[in-house]
Chain length 357, copies 2
DNA sequence: ATGAAAGCGCTAACAA
DNA sequence: TTGTTAGCGCTTTCAT
């Protein structure tokens, strides 16, 4: 076993408390004493046992982040940002992925996968409101992403409806009118895609254009193959759009691949807009126009939200915007009301809509 | 605070030990007793305090994985695999990224960032042998990736020289002879790229072809922009290769982008081979031929290695291959010798070398 | 089969 | 300013 406070204390001929004081940089320690203790620490190679410290303090210094899929660059990049922000707050991040499967998301939300954590940041796909209703876990929870629950947990997202509308507006501005939506799920109401779909519909309707169901191509998942399959199915069904708005960049890239296989040029024949602004979209043969969510802010708001609840400092939100939510998070010290936190987004115009001219 | 063993014991009118027995599924507990205790547990909503358990048992059930960059899909996908394998062994994964910076890698190796961990899987970029020489940390360490150290730690990688050679052999087979290498670092000997570079050189030499330095394009990093910049520099220098072997897929995709901007066709004018087999390479306008390392096996071997040292079961390696290493890992129960573990790889032929015919 | 009590390494009252 | 001591919640001898 390794060196403990007691060993150091004996070696230095002082009490445990004094050593603890030195280790924790307490004010009232004479320089001489500090030096003596420090020497013993160095000689013995003492390193504090975090587990013991945590048991005592009731906290672990670990935050969990659960995303659907690490293979999706958007989530990987977001995870990287969360890790960095957490480090600034002296927290380490335990990462988990749920595959977007409801049971996994439930397990995570109840702390069965990632245990020993102080707080949890969860980006759900299939999770239902009721799954969170009876959540019995001390760790503060913050929700990320497109879905909206009326629950006492902070929720962080960009304005998906507005983002979708701005994408469609851009497509209209470059002269398109038959704009398909790729990547909807139509089986439930509160789907990840429903807000973006709503934006698509609203903007088209407002422009006096039809938004027929035939222009909505559902996908089973949200990866390249799903986009490719959906695009192929749409074309096979005899529908030829002059633009495509995809639920995310991976779907958009998959769709572009199919378009080029079919001899359709992007953007001349079909313009494409994605969502997420992953690096990949900047380096294809045709670069991808996309909605770029402010990942840094999302990460910062998420970590901040958890840390605030942990430390009981409701404090100023310092986010872009905050509107009242519902109720009060259970079992959290800083029991401020749940907040709806918004991060910014912007439309990045690239070749897939405006060409390389 | 939450419910403790003691609370449950009082509620059930039994001793703490009995409750502990029930919680831990010990054999010798009468069904009646078990039922009674279980009822108290349910009523109180008791959940064991993992931190306390860990303090007592001396282990935390947490493994750390540190990769250079989560934004690189290769590492993101690898991380996903590690998380899954670790879960099979009942470990959770704490993820960290080092940015490939030496100081960060040193910090991680000594457990300064991720503390409270039982073991560490590290994929270093700049770390030097000496940085690990005096490593003073109980947690077993396993090294991943291209670099080779003669140190008492298990190392897991594919055979990079062989992989590079097979890539070059493929390019030769499709009729190329002026094959550039993109993504070398020439400033040090033990660079991540040096084994692949060696394979490039060996295969060319064996084929009686020149392998001039002018065909080696260094990069500052390993992302799209680095590949694009290196390709542009190479072309600007007046060198026109008929093939490019890139250190990784991101560099390859960046290079392809520049090629297409310059009006060069892939593969007609320039064939391209990458390394990593990230999903992105399968969905570009031109799909990418690449070396596909067996990520599953890498993840499995890595987790296995750490877990074995932790549990003191040297056990059968069950990897593809194992050659003797150096010395004995310090401070690990199962002090078997350090092993050189190999995972498989395969060449995946796609359009960037064989066209879409 | 169950209970009593010690102690993992640390922090935080409280004393001195 | 430094020392003493009581736990944090759990597992684990050792009794019974």
């Amino acid at each position: 076993m390794s060196v403990s406070l007691k060993d150091v204390a004996e070696r230095a001929g002082v009490s445990i408390k004094t050593v603890s004081n030195v280790v924790n940089n307490y004010r009232h320690v004479t320089p001489a004493m500090r030096a003596k203790v420090q020497r013993a620490i160095d000689e013995l190679g003492y390193r504090p046992n975090l587990t013991a410290r945590h048991l005592r303090k009731g906290r672990t210094g670990i935050l969990a982040l659960a995303v659907p899929e690490l293979g999706n660059p958007y989530f990987a990049e977001l995870a990287g940002a969360v890790i960095d922000v957490a480090a600034e707050h002296e927290y380490t991040v335990l990462l988990d992925h749920t595959g977007g499967r409801r049971e996994q998301e439930i397990l995570v939300s109840q702390g069965f996968r990632a245990r020993v954590i102080d707080g949890l940041i969860l980006s759900p796909i299939e999770l239902e409101r009721e799954d969170l209703l009876g959540r019995d876990h001390d760790a503060p929870l913050v929700l990320l992403g497109e879905r909206e629950y009326d629950l006492p947990y902070d929720h962080i997202a960009i304005d998906n409806v507005a983002a979708a509308r701005s994408a469609i507006r851009h497509l209209l501005a470059v002269g398109r009118s038959r704009i398909a939506f790729l990547g909807a799920r139509t089986d439930r109401v509160n789907e990840p895609s429903h807000l973006r779909l709503r934006g698509w519909r609203a903007e088209l309707t407002e422009a006096g254009l039809p938004a027929p169901d035939s222009m909505i191509a559902p996908t089973g998942g949200w990866d390249h193959p799903d986009g490719a399959a959906a695009m192929a199915r749409l074309l096979d069904s005899g529908v030829l759009p002059d633009a495509v708005f995809a639920y995310n960049d991976l779907i958009a890239v998959g769709a572009m691949r199919v378009l080029s296989e079919r001899g359709l040029r992007v953007p001349e024949d079909v313009a494409v807009v994605g969502f997420d602004d992953i690096t990949e979209g900047r380096y294809g043969a045709v670069t991808l126009t996309t909605i770029s969510p402010d990942k840094q802010t999302i990460a910062r708001l998420a970590v901040q939200s958890v840390v605030e609840r942990l430390h009981g400092t409701p404090g100023p939100t310092d986010g872009q915007e905050a509107t009242g939510g519902a109720g009060t998070p259970a079992g959290t010290p800083g029991a401020t009301r749940a907040r709806e936190l918004r991060a910014d987004f912007r439309l990045v115009e690239r070749e897939s809509t405006v060409g390389s001219g």
